[in-house]
């Protein structure tokens, strides 16, 4: 199905750090993440808050503003026949020193990098990569009608430059996202629309530019449960209709499950498991990351309700990515450590190992049969 060889988006060893002045320490939000999204597929990134999934998406879109921000890595975008590194030249603006394999000091020309990044991303943001966010009501400009905001995108990024044709196009897209009376809704302000409708409008706005990649950052968070389900349906339908490549981020496994072709599980700033959706979420699978297993066990499902089994909460607290432990990041909460691997788990971070074709896990229970 892939038209070009290689993924549409390839993130390689991305590190995005922030800094806590109070604790004089780095917040290692994204600590060496590598991911790939193939053409036409939907990659779902799932994890708890603080796992770094949103920051990964924001880094890909060049929207990280706090310091120090992105400090290393490559993000290759392969679209329309061109391939470019969205972090090209980063090494000229950011330098870091490590101690014991851990970054302890960063020097970054933030203003310079921002300018450079904006130049790199001009023509990419909105046009090749479109992004939708959570809390759609506050993500839209409250001072402007949704119609005007849609028209702005259309005139910026498509060939429909005229005011009237852009408006027609906008209404067409409002229809496609199943907003009724699109002609009337065109003149509505965000505050006059429900959360669900705002999210549909935002999806319309993103897709109207006909981008190569859609990044959806928690698109259902902040919406009512029934509306969430409708939005997910809409995204599924649009995915079939347009075949667009999507990077989907959510902490809600049901959303991930319904929309993703492949899944990446993130914990503590790193990817701990990645593979085809069916494999990662398979209920009977034996080979999987303990965190994934725990996540799945903690969701209520029809099965568990019927069997009246207890929900299993995961012991311990989420990693705060400031105090990053030496060994495996999940070690403190893992309930499948054996004595044979304990020393490894405590002291060395496991590499991402391929346990089946296309299925990788970062866990000492499955030591590297090959390499990541």
């Amino acid at each position: 199905m892939a038209l070009d060889a290689g993924p549409l988006l390839a993130i390689d060893n991305l590190r995005t750090y922030f800094y806590s002045r109070a604790k004089r320490a780095f917040i290692r939000s994204v600590d060496g993440v590598s991911l790939g999204v193939a053409h036409g597929e939907t990659l779902g990134i799932v994890g708890e808050s603080g796992s770094g999934k949103s920051v990964t998406a924001l880094s890909a879109a060049g929207l990280v503003t706090a310091g120090p921000g992105v400090i290393s890595g490559r993000i290759d975008l392969h679209s329309n026949g061109t391939r470019r590194n969205l972090l090209e030249g980063l090494e000229n603006y950011a330098r870091f020193t490590e101690q014991d394999g851990r970054v302890m000091a960063v020097e970054k020309d933030e203003r310079g990098w921002r300018k450079h990044s904006d130049t790199l991303m001009a023509g990419v943001r909105g046009k090749e990569i479109a992004m939708i966010f959570q809390n759609p009501r506050s993500a839209l400009n409250p001072y402007s009608t949704i119609g005007k905001q849609l028209v702005e995108t259309i005139r910026l990024h498509t060939n429909f430059k005229g005011e009237r044709e852009a408006k027609e196009r906008a209404i067409h897209w409002l229809e496609r996202v199943r907003i009724d009376s699109p002609g009337l809704r065109f003149d509505n302000f965000p505050f006059g629309l429900s959360g669900g409708m705002c999210q549909r409008a935002m999806i319309a706005m993103a897709l109207s530019a006909e981008p190569s990649l859609l990044i959806a950052d928690e698109p259902t968070t902040g919406l009512d449960a029934t509306i969430q389900s409708r939005i997910v349906d809409l995204l599924a339908q649009l995915k079939t209709e347009t075949g667009i490549t999507t990077l989907l981020i959510s902490h809600d496994i049901s959303v991930i499950q319904r929309l993703s072709d492949r899944i990446a599980v993130m914990y503590g700033g790193t990817v701990v498991e990645t593979g085809r959706a069916a494999e990662v979420l398979a209920p009977q699978a034996t080979a999987r990351h303990p965190y994934t297993a725990a996540l799945l066990a903690s969701i209520p499902s029809a099965e568990t309700i019927r069997r009246k089994s207890y929900l299993q909460a995961i012991e311990g607290e989420v990693l705060d990515t400031i105090e990053v432990p030496r060994g495996c990041r999940f070690y403190g909460r893992c309930n499948r450590v054996t004595d044979a691997i304990r020393e490894n788990c405590a002291g060395i971070e496991p590499p991402l190992a391929e346990i089946a074709p296309g299925h990788k896990v970062r866990c000492w229970l499955y030591p590297a049969a090959g390499k990541a």
């Binding site: 879109a61 929207l63 203003r111 991303m121 001009a122 023509g123 990419v124 943001r125 909105g126 046009k127 479109a130 992004m131 966010f133 809390n135 506050s138 993500a139 839209l140 400009n141 409250p142 001072y143 402007s144 702005e152 995108t153 910026l156 990024h157 003149d187 302000f189 505050f191 006059g192 935002m202 706005m205 993103a206 530019a209």
Partner: protein, 320 residues
Amino acid sequence: MKFAAVKPVSRVLARELAVTALLLLGVSVVVFAILYLAPGDPLNVLLEGQSPRSELALGMREALGVPRTWYGQYAAWFGKMLQGNFGNSIRTGLPVLPELARVGVYTLTLTLGSLTLTLLIAVPIAVHAAAHGGTAGNTAATLGAYVLSAVPVFWFGYIVVYVFIHQFGMFPLISGTAAKQEHAWLYFLVPIFVLGIASGTLSEMIRHLREELSRVLAEDYIRTARAKGAPVWRHAFKEGFLIPVTEIMSAKIPFLLGGAVIVEQVFNWPGMGRMAWQAAQDRDFPVIMGIALVAAAFVRSGNLLQRVIFTAVNPRASRE
């Protein structure tokens, strides 16, 4: 800025007008109270000494006399004002309101001109600081603004006057006739320059504009604008610039009017401020009362205008 629904907007505007009217009423009560409580009963002088004789039959006026009760006096005083009768200046004998109208223009230009100048200085500093954070440049500029805001405006005026005398060889007077014609327009600019720089409102302006713009730039919808490659300023303009600027302008008008009183002294500028000073010296309370009312009216008009702009720009405001 489309008014998608006119009716709700005019409802909100009507409410703003009503509030303004109520406040002006309150202003008149405050002024009245000061006059009422003052020793020497200035109100009586105002009420009986100033009324035109020819209007009512003499007998009826004698029967009415001056009302005894405070609300009666207030009503009489307010009634007179509504007719445009603010009394006559004790010093010159001229009717107050026409005189105020004559000199008010000078103060108006001075106030608005210096407000604009202060803005012109404050905006670049605030915008730069909001967009780029604290750099050496804008921190130094902010500190400089602090110092300027503490400079006594009258002393600063003398410095500027001195420079004028020695650079241009003339004293910037607005006596009109003494002016050298080819530099006459400069005379108007000098007091505006002085008040614009040293009015004491500069650092507040910078702070308010910077805070508001920074807050808006951190909003979700600005992130969306960036994400879709749209120019950020276009989205941040209304909430981050237009509204804060009109807010701070309207809020600082009273301060600039006060500064105008002082600057008009320094430059002998024939405006309401100098008239107020003269009136205070002479205990010429019809004049100072008139000035207080006119000044308050000016402040409230500025505020009303700002509310109108806010309502026009903010879709939520016009639909409540």
